[in-house]
């Protein structure tokens, strides 16, 4: 509605921004945002607690923010439709944001960051730290001014809530996905002394360790890029084949235990990514059961044969086949039975029908499954870390470039770029090449026929393959649980609770119950960080889904593409880019719990988006419209109509992001700190110390915790929902654990 005075929302944000600028500490506190000690640190006048206004007395470049914050007062008494109203807000919002960014980037810990500024003003003794609460809320106020201004211009039918939400999502995705990746690219261009050089970049990029083809010409090693590529192609191929076998067994052989196979697809969701690798070591490692048994029988010397390509390949195949299965079961079921029946009435035999009709119709689905396996393998960090031996792959090489003796962020950045190139290329193929070729024949109506059974011989082959693989998977999981009770695998095979006691021991001391186990610290941190990040992930995911499904605005396609992009960004890349980007002002986050939370939010956001898009597209749009014509605004409609109806999707997004946060390793391992250690990185640390017992016991506990979380979720939402929703979330893009 049009009103006089100042628009209510603008007033609210004007006051919020002012309060933040005058009362909240402008700069971040060393221990992170969750630390509230600034209240006693001279707040709000001096020292680390100084607000923007008072800090501005020493650092005059902060004061212009106040001008921009007060500027909307110039719109006092003007109607929304008045061009001056929108112009004022646009100027205040955009100007404030630009100034905030400029001063943040221009002046860092050691004074001017840009040499031309120093040339202009001469060397100054000025410095500033990362931004804190004050800066955060001031920026939020500017963002809101900007979107109110745009809305008043009639953008998206003049809906302030929608424009504001779009602005918010773009801002956070920009800050937490694009900005770090950009920073990482820049780091790749940087030389040791801090200057930029293309030739150094090219030298790093053309490194023989990345691109060498020596193994083809008789040498011992190929470059990591080729290793990763080869591994990913093989894993993609074989996981697709195995997935197809399982999908055919369930749909075209009259197999009765399809539910059991479907249930097994939940396993990779709740399994931390390196656990399969650990099981492979217990089976085939130097003192592995299989290795020692064979050595005992044949008298051969046990070797480390499984470390390297073979081991990683097997582990990844075990981990990613269920995902291919999930994709392909949809595809195989999607082929309309009437097509196959039509072929049969045209005198095609079963084998001929399968070869000439069914299989070609599944082709895009097969390509999709392949690309998915490809990306998963490329991005996987946990399995190569424990199993790769001398077979270096990109994801682990990135890690060692950072943590190893080299500590070469530039090299890590270059490797990360190569990795990102591969995964983005696959992502692009999936969306634009496959996206256009839809062979879907699911017609919904009138397709009552049955899928014809496959020819007998083929059926037996399929049963055999699927059977062997299922047994293998079960053995792997059995080994994990059993192994957690074995004293020292292969050496002292007696059963013991020792590992559990060491990890999760409880004792009484003078203060009462004492969590004496070594794992408790990281366990609580993990639960806490996962529990905080899950609702935030779900919230931003669903908000984005709402914008995508229910609103139309210019640039929506690009908006969708960017929000889904983070699926294709491997965790390792996120990890590296976060430490490169958030180690220095204006945003200092390394070492805090917040950086972990943020990395989870933006790694898992597409899960929330997918879940939201899937269920929101099933909600009749006229429900929203009815609400609007009954006088609700779009925010009230979102809250009272859409959110309540999306409850199952919200729960799914919550549980899923919780579980993924618990099992994540690739980004986490770069971002943990002594204060905020996570379960997965703690376990990896144990593995590196050859403490397999504790690592496996801890992993087992994690698996059961997540199993419980999902079980709880099933009780809340009901069984049927779960399978479908997890399928939806799972079959779409995600890279690495």
């Amino acid at each position: 509605m049009l009103r006089h005075g100042l628009d209510r929302n603008v007033t609210f944000w004007l006051l919020t921004g002012l309060a933040a600028f005058v009362l909240l500490p402008w700069y971040g506190i060393e221990r992170g945002y969750l630390d509230m000690r600034w209240i006693t640190g001279g707040w709000p006048f001096r020292g680390s607690g100084a607000s923007g206004l008072f800090a501005g007395l020493e650092r005059p470049w902060l004061l212009p923010h106040l001008v921009f914050l007060l500027l909307p007062l110039a719109a006092w008494g003007r109607l929304k439709s008045d061009p001056l109203f929108s112009a004022t807000l646009l100027f205040a919002g955009a100007g404030g944001l630009i100034w905030l960014l400029l001063q943040g980037f221009a002046i860092g810990l050691n004074g001017f960051e840009w040499s031309w500024l120093e040339a202009l003003f001469g060397p100054q003794d000025i410095r500033q730290f990362g931004m804190g609460y004050g800066a955060l809320f001031t920026a939020a106020a500017f963002l809101f001014f900007l979107s109110s201004g745009l809305a008043a211009r009639g953008v998206v039918n003049g809906d302030t809530f929608v424009v504001g939400s779009i602005g918010f999502v773009i801002a956070v995705v920009g800050i937490f996905i694009f900005f770090p990746i950009m920073k990482m690219f820049i780091a790749g261009l940087q030389t040791d002394d801090g200057s930029y050089s293309l030739s150094v970049f090219i030298a790093k990029f053309a490194d023989r360790k990345i691109w060498s083809l020596a193994c083809m010409t008789g040498g011992t090693r190929c470059g990591v890029a080729w290793n990763s590529l080869f591994l990913a192609v093989m894993v993609g191929l074989f996981s697709t084949l195995l997935g197809l076998v399982f999908a055919l067994v369930v749909t075209r052989t009259g197999f009765r235990f399809g539910r059991f196979l479907r249930a097994m697809t939940l396993l990779p969701i709740i399994t931390p990514p390196f656990v399969i690798g650990l099981a492979i070591i217990l089976l085939f490692g130097l003192s592995g059961t299989v290795t020692t048994t064979i050595a005992g029988i044949t008298g051969m010397q046990p070797t480390r044969w499984v470390y390297g390509f073979t081991g990683v390949f097997i582990a990844q195949l075990l981990a990613f086949t269920p995902i291919a299965f999930l994709v392909l079961i949809g595809v195989v079921e999607g082929v309309s039975p009437s097509m196959e029946e039509a072929a049969q009435t045209l005198r095609a035999g079963r084998w001929h029908t399968f070869r000439t009709v069914s299989l070609p119709l599944m082709r895009p689905g097969l390509a999709n499954a392949f690309l998915l396996g490809f990306i998963e393998s490329m991005a996987d960090f946990g399995n190569p870390l424990v199993l790769s031996g001398n077979f270096d792959v990109l994801s682990t090489e990135i890690f060692f470039a950072i943590v190893g003796a080299q500590n070469d962020a530039g090299r890590a950045a270059v490797l990360a770029m190569v990795l990102l190139f591969f995964t983005l290329a696959a992502f692009y193929l999936q969306r634009f090449w496959l996206g256009k070729k839809s062979y879907t024949t699911l017609t919904g109506k009138g397709d009552s026929g049955h899928h014809p059974l496959l020819p007998k011989q083929l059926r037996y082959v399929l049963f055999a393959i699927a059977g062997v693989w299922t047994v293998f998977t079960l053995v792997v999981y059995f080994i994990i649980i059993y192994g957690s009770f074995v004293e020292v695998w292969g050496l002292k095979n007696n059963l013991t609770f020792n590992h559990y006691v060491r990890a999760f021991g409880l004792s009484w001391n003078e203060f009462g119950l004492h969590f004496s186990g070594a794992a408790w610290d990281s366990f609580w941190t993990t639960l806490q960080i996962s529990a905080i990040s899950a609702p935030l992930t779900a919230a931003i995911g669903l908000l984005t889904a709402y914008l995508l499904v229910r609103q139309s605005f210019a640039g929506k396609q690009a908006f969708e593409f960017t929000t889904m992009l983070s699926f294709a960004v491997p965790g390792t890349v996120i990890g590296v880019s976060y430490i490169v980007a958030f180690n220095v002002p204006p945003i200092e986050l390394t070492g805090t719990g917040l950086i972990l939370i943020l990395s989870f939010i933006f790694r898992n956001m597409p899960v929330g988006v997918r879940a939201g898009v899937a269920s929101m597209s099933q909600l009749d749009k006229s429900l929203d419209e009815a609400s609007l014509t009954l006088g609700a605004n779009s925010w009230q409609t979102f809250r009272k109509i859409i959110l309540p109806l999306l409850r199952p999707a919200i729960l799914a997004a919550l549980v899923y992001s919780f579980v993924r946060a618990m099992t994540a390793i690739s980004a986490v391992i770069f971002l943990v700190s002594a204060r905020y250690d996570m379960a997965t990185s703690y376990i990896i640390g144990r593995v590196e110390n050859n403490d397999y017992g504790l690592a496996i016991a801890y992993s087992t506990v994690l698996i059961f915790v997540m199993f419980a979380a999902i079980g709880l979720f099933q009780l809340l939402v009901g069984r049927r929902q779960l399978g479908r929703r997890f399928d939806q979330s799972r079959t779409n893009w995600e890279a690495g654990g």
Binding site: L628, T629, G631, A632, K640, I641
Partner: protein, 356 residues
């Protein structure tokens, strides 16, 4: 507590709606709906009826032109801020709320007191004959009852304009007549302004004060049901509202607004409706054509191709020099033989000249 009408007029001035820069769904449309009347938007599917209705509601924004409701320019106002309610084709009842919560949804948002919300909700449910159903969930109601809840939900806000988008399309045939009569009754008793969309001409003729016939994003003709039926302006309207035979003819002379029209040798005198001398077309309803044995020597002749008994009447198909003619007669005529010649004539109120 009574639900009042709050009727306001609606005016469209040269309104155009373009979707995605390409599809012109509504093209330079102007009309006025007087306060307290029921006006129907009628036309084949895809002609732009729903788009027009949604522009009144504020769910779509006009690309060009002006929309005025109750004398106020609302062109730029979104749905939330317009005093217009809509009954959706799918009813759009909120499935997570009871009937009562559905009906009171808009009332609560507009800041009425608790008591008033309750009273009005009850009055609204009583008005549509659903007293005592408040605590049910929408899924426990039949299609017809759901429809009434949707009407009650829209009515309790006492909107300036009430919109219906094909409200009968989800009901079975028997209920349709009853529901459309109920809607008309509520509209007249409360004096509401109603804009009603349908593609069914019979429904439109039965409920409307005025009908706006649309075709291909523009208005083909507006008028009362009787005007449209008796005096269609175009072949499209003539054929869309009731069936019509469109026959070529020649206007030989026009005097005092009466035209001498020759059609295959027969001459009749009709209202000229602005048509000048020269070739023209006229429209004749099938039941206003008289067939007689060829010997009758009245009118012009043709050959009877088909005679079909359909219960309530007979249908005839005749081939003539003026084209194929479709005729209906209450009683069969034994003297007519299929394949034989017939004489074709018109009843007194028979043919009308088409101005366009």
């Amino acid at each position: 507590m009574k639900i009042k009408g709050n009727a306001a007029s609606v005016e469209f001035e040269h309104v155009t709606k373009v979707y995605g820069g390409m599809v012109k769904a509504v093209d330079d449309v102007s009309f006025a709906v007087a306060a307290g009347t029921l006006v129907t938007l009628l036309g084949p599917s895809g002609c732009g009826k729903t788009t027009t209705l949604r522009m009144i509601a504020g769910l779509e924004m006009a690309t060009a032109g002006r929309i005025v409701i109750g004398g106020r320019d609302v062109t730029k106002l979104p749905a939330t801020d317009r005093d217009v309610s809509m009954v959706f084709q799918s009813y759009a009842l909120f499935p997570h709320m009871s009937v009562q919560e559905n009906v009171s949804y808009g009332l609560k948002l507009s800041g009425h007191s608790k008591d008033e919300v309750r009273e009005r909700t009850e009055a609204g449910l009583a008005l549509v004959g659903l007293k005592g159903y408040g605590s049910r969930s929408p899924s426990e109601l039949s299609g017809g009852q759901q429809q009434r809840v949707a009407v009650a939900r829209a009515l309790v806000l006492e909107p300036e304009v009430l919109l219906f988008d094909e409200p009968l399309s989800n009901l079975d045939a028997k209920l349709r007549r009853q529901v459309r009569e109920e809607i008309r009754e509520i509209q007249t008793s409360l004096g509401l302004t109603v804009v009603y969309v349908t593609h069914d001409q019979e429904e439109a003729l039965a409920v409307s004060d005025r009908i706006i016939v649309m075709n291909n994003a523009v208005i083909a003709q507006m008028g009362t049901p009787r005007q449209l039926y008796e005096a269609p302006d175009t072949a499209f309207v003539a054929d869309f509202i009731g069936e019509a035979n469109i026959l070529p003819c020649v206007v030989e002379d026009v005097t005092d607004g009466r035209a001498q029209v020759r059609i295959d040798g027969m001459t009749v005198t009709l209202a000229a409706r602005g048509v000048g001398k020269g070739p023209a077309r006229l429209a004749v309803r099938p039941n206003r054509i008289l067939l007689a044995p060829a010997a009758a020597k009245s009118g012009f002749t043709g050959t009877l191709r088909k005679a079909t008994y359909v219960g309530s009447h007979w249908e005839y198909s005749v081939e003539s020099a003026a084209g194929n003619i479709f005729a209906k007669a209450l009683d069969g005529d034994d003297r007519l033989t299929v394949g034989g010649p017939v004489a074709i004539g018109f009843t007194a109120e028979g043919p009308v000249l088409l101005p366009q």
